[in-house]
């Protein structure tokens, strides 16, 4: 008798296998935890991979101080519930310079807080392997990203160092100072992630669900006014609209969509009927046409 595994069972088994292998083959692994839905799924899979043991690595949140308040709440709650070792890193240079999306633009903001901050945090912890939640379906240039991706000493992605990946055999060997980024969700699609969240009842940030929220319109993009640091135009009063987010990042850089979807099935329904791809709401992708390829070469996750 043959048992047919469903596509989600096969994806889950693959991700778990990747994580077990990666942890066994590295000295100091760490998991990048960005609090978004992909991170939530990755973390859930990690708990499965090492059950009944605890996570054999810390979680690292590279904080920009500009995330949504709801994200910070879920982050701290999750870490406390799992008894996980949570490292929160804020680039001290960005803190000192007061880098923010309003004065410095999304490019510089992301570059200093996230790209530079990530390098600092990885170096400070001497981590030789970092898990990330990126998926190959997110963008055309990610389609050929390896599951195990080597980064040079200065965290750059060198296309020439790309290693062939065959079967379930991954190569995590690096020289001192180099590191590996491992993407256990490589073969998941956005739909897979949502279905899995629904099936496994994984807690996600409430911002993914539609609710009345204070927003302003910036060049056709709805931005939520999440705290009093938001720079309102003179005389501008935030509107209350029923909105939700398809991707989460720094709140001044995350575009909301008007929606009635306040349950998981409604979200999936909306996504399946949607006519735009998920990354459209992510402002950093549009900025200056900088491709993901270029960002990766510079060390963006």
């Amino acid at each position: 008798m043959t048992t047919t595994l469903t596509h989600l069972q096969r994806l889950e088994a693959e991700s778990i296998s990747i994580m077990r292998d990666a942890v066994s083959e590295s000295e100091r692994p760490v998991m990048l935890y960005s609090i978004g839905k992909d991170s939530a799924v990755m973390l859930h899979l990690a708990r499965k991979a090492f059950f009944p043991g605890k996570l054999p690595f810390p979680l690292l949140h590279v904080d920009t101080t500009w995330k949504f308040q709801d994200m910070y709440r879920l982050r701290d709650k999750t870490a406390a519930e799992l008894g996980a070792d949570l490292i929160v890193h804020k680039n001290p240079r960005a803190v000192e310079l007061g880098i923010n999306p309003f004065d410095h633009g999304s490019g510089m903001h992301t570059d200093i807080w996230k790209t530079e901050g990530l390098k600092q945090a990885l170096e400070a912890g001497s981590f030789d392997l970092a898990f990330g939640g990126a998926r190959r379906d997110e963008e055309k240039s990610r389609a050929k990203e390896r599951i195990f991706s080597v980064r040079t000493k200065d965290h750059r992605w060198d296309p020439k160092m790309q290693r062939p990946e065959l079967w379930r055999l991954y190569n995590a060997r690096v020289h001192p100072g180099e590191s590996v980024r491992v993407f256990p969700l490589s073969n998941w699609t956005e739909l897979d992630v949502w279905q899995y969240i629904a099936m496994q009842d994984i807690e996600i940030v409430p911002l993914y669900f539609a609710a009345e929220r204070p927003v302003v319109d910036r060049d056709g993009t709805l931005i939520m006014v999440d705290d009093d640091r938001f720079r309102l135009h003179e005389g501008e009063v935030p509107m209350r609209k029923k909105v939700r987010f398809r991707t989460l990042g720094c709140y001044p850089l995350s575009g909301a969509i008007e929606s009635e979807a306040d349950t998981l099935s409604a979200i999936i329904q909306e996504m399946l009927l949607a006519r735009t791809s998920e990354r459209q709401g992510r402002l950093i992708d549009h900025d200056a046409k900088a491709s993901m390829e270029k960002k990766k070469q510079e060390g963006y996750f």
Binding site: T3, H7, R20, S24, K48, F50, F51, D192, R275, T276
Partner: protein, 642 residues
């Protein structure tokens, strides 16, 4: 076709809109098919993948807008939607100097989720296709109906069969360009089957298609009334993929030993073959101990049964020793354990294979040291002809003998991909340089119970009252290795130590009389001396070796064959100018006169040790002082009493 297709999806969209719960429930039970497409852009491969993505509605409006724009500026379809552009994006990649290799695309239908391995580009074709095929359940081989079976079709089919894909779809594409002719398609089908049978490919489904026009992709085409087989997507949705591997004996390489507390000891891995239930007997390999499965532990609760493909954690009823890399297998049908194999090797690095050089070999969850012999032959991927070869260059495929430094459990690749597939990793660059498929064991480890030897190393050493070790003197010819080693041995002998000196020059008169001075022979020379030294350590001796041993990797291999703390690398470090001046054997004079070739330091490289246990600058030290330093090191390491 277009209107039919739209209706089909309209129905699906209606269901999503009206009964999302039912729709989701159905989608939770979808299966997964991974396939590879083989062909070139000219055959319409990108158009085919683009069409599958487009037809299954994986293309969003913003992407469609971009596509419409790109089709106008760069498209080849006269302003019409050029679906190939959905997957190509190659021009941009080329400009950025990105290696174009394997890309993975995703789409899904009501019944299945699909992962497509797309391997564009002609140059690195073998490496990329082998990579993509390694995880594929099925291969689509595209043929241009106007051209028929070409050399590249043969190459693709050979690689498909090599990687163990048994299910093939022959998409005879561009049938619109041959007037949808049944005769053309049937002739190609006949041609192809004759050739494929030689490769052992028999499960072939031939479908006449036009990726450009959409014929027989999603719905049966009115243009091919003579064809009554499935459409391409219909076939992909229904083809049986539940691998043979589930019906094989149980196999699970242990990836992780789970010990959260003293009461729990579980062995985690992904099942590579068969199925398992609590109460089943399993054999731990290579130790060959037998135990019984107690529980199948998962986060979601214990399972009554688990099958190939699942990632689980097993607990056993006995306290047996199991570590990462071991294989748990059906007790009554366990895999072979061996340390020498015949394998088919695909070379994937710019730097060619170096026969005799140690590489790391990863198989299952185990990494071991491996050497590869001179290829028995290489295979011309276009003609399948066997050609003689000294090595394998990038994208070459050959049959080789592989020797490991320890025995590993395996099944032939043809039976089980995960138990017989391996990668080779370069020790210096850490790059993945080769991929191999084990065929048969050429030397079985008939005695896997090493512990059965009662008089072991520690017994031998205890009788002699000493700690055995290897002192490995490396350095340029005439650096003073033998002089210092002689003095050290005399001092040890005087202390009543049991020693032996293996001299690099002397072994070439006997043990290694058959070896010359090529890179390959030097590697073998060192390997043999290393093995002899290891046996002598087993016998309890303190072994002194004096060998130029110019390559770091070779010295490291010897080190890896010994236990921690048993190998002392002594770098006899004299500058080239000094040894050329000394030159007691006249070697450097001969080299200068062009009478000797491959002289280390002159026209052959010497890789100095990076962190030797001891460095002896013999230009500054007397031989006696150098010997004293060696003895002091042994005292510090606890080999000699203070």
């Amino acid at each position: 076709m277009a209107s039919d297709v739209k209706t089909d999806f309209a129905v699906q969209q209606d269901r999503i809109a009206n009964d999302i719960e039912a729709y989701l429930h159905e989608h939770e039970h979808k299966s997964l098919l991974r396939f590879i497409t083989c062909g070139s852009v000219d055959d319409g491969k990108s158009t085919l993948i683009g069409r599958l993505l487009y037809e299954s509605q994986m293309v969003f409006e913003d992407q469609l807008t971009a596509l419409t724009h790109d089709s106008k500026t760069m498209g080849t379809q006269g302003g019409e939607l050029d679906l190939a552009l959905l997957v190509d994006g190659l021009a941009a990649e080329r400009e950025q100097g990105i290696t174009i290799d394997v890309a993975y695309r995703f789409f899904s239908t009501e019944k299945r989720k699909f992962i497509v391995a797309d391997t564009p580009g002609h140059e690195q074709y073998t490496r990329n296709m082998v990579t993509g095929a390694s995880t594929a359940d099925l291969a689509i081989i595209l043929i241009d109906a106007r051209k028929g079976v070409l050399t590249q079709t043969r190459r693709h089919s050979y690689l498909v069969s090599l990687l163990g894909i048994t299910k093939v779809v022959l998409a005879v594409n561009k049938v619109d360009a041959v007037g949808y002719s049944q005769d053309v398609v049937e002739a190609i089908d006949k041609d192809y089957r004759a050739f494929a049978a030689e490769l052992g490919l028999t499960d072939i489904t031939t479908i006449p298609t036009s990726a450009l026009k959409g014929d027989n992709i999603l719905v049966p085409s009115a243009n091919t009334p003579w064809y009554d087989g499935p459409t391409l997507l219909g076939h992909l949705e229904s083809v049986e993929v539940e691998d043979q591997v589930q019906h094989q004996p149980f196999r699970m390489p242990v990836q992780w030993v789970s010990r959260p507390d003293l009461d729990f000891r579980g062995f985690a891995g992904q099942i590579a073959g068969g199925s398992i239930r609590p109460g089943d007997q399993v054999r731990v390999l290579p130790s060959s101990r037998v135990s019984t499965v107690d529980r199948i532990v998962t986060f979601d609760g214990d399972l009554p049964q688990a099958v190939a493909g699942q990632s689980i954690t097993l607990t056993l009823t006995d306290e047996v020793d199991v570590s990462r890399g071991d294989v748990l297998a059906a007790a009554d049908d366990s895999p072979e354990v061996a340390d020498q194999f015949e394998a088919t090797l695909v070379w994937m690095a710019e730097e060619p294979l170096q026969p005799g050089r140690p590489y790391l070999l990863k198989i299952g969850a185990r990494t071991v040291s491996a050497t590869v012999g001179t290829p028995d032959h290489k295979v011309d991927v276009n003609t399948l002809e066997h050609l003689p070869a000294d090595t394998l260059a990038l994208n070459e495929i050959g049959v080789v003998q592989v020797s490991l430094d320890r025995a590993v459990p395996f099944d032939p690749y043809a039976l089980n991909r995960d138990m017989g597939g391996f990668v080779l990793v370069d020790r210096l660059t850490n790059g993945t340089v080769g991929a191999g498929m084990l065929r048969t064991a050429t030397r079985r480890a008939d005695n896997v119970h090493w512990q059965a030897i009662d008089v072991d190393k520690s017994a031998h050493a205890a009788l002699k009252g000493q700690k055995p070790c290897v002192l490995w003197f490396t350095g340029l010819p005439s650096a003073g290795k033998s002089t210092v080693a002689n003095l050290v041995e005399r001092a040890l002998f005087a202390q009543g130590r049991h020693t032996y000196l293996l001299d690099g020059d002397n072994v070439r008169h006997g043990l290694n009389a058959d070896l010359g001075f090529t890179a390959e022979d030097r590697v073998e020379n060192i390997r043999r001396v290393g093995e002899v030294a290891r046996l002598m350590v087993d016998a309890g001796l303190i072994v002194l070796v004096t060998l130029v041993s110019p390559y770091r990797a070779d010295r490291d291999l010897v080190r890896s064959r010994l236990d921690e703390g048993e190998f002392f690398e002594v770098f006899v470090d004299a500058p080239l100018a000094v040894v050329q001046e000394r030159d007691p054997k006249g070697l450097y004079r001969k080299a200068a006169a062009g009478e000797a070739k491959n002289v280390t330091g002159v026209d052959a490289p010497y890789e100095a040790p990076e962190s030797p246990e001891l460095r002896l600058p013999t230009a500054e030290l007397s031989a006696d002082d150098a010997a004293r330093k060696v003895l002091a090191m042994l005292t510090d390491a606890g080999i000699l009493a203070p």
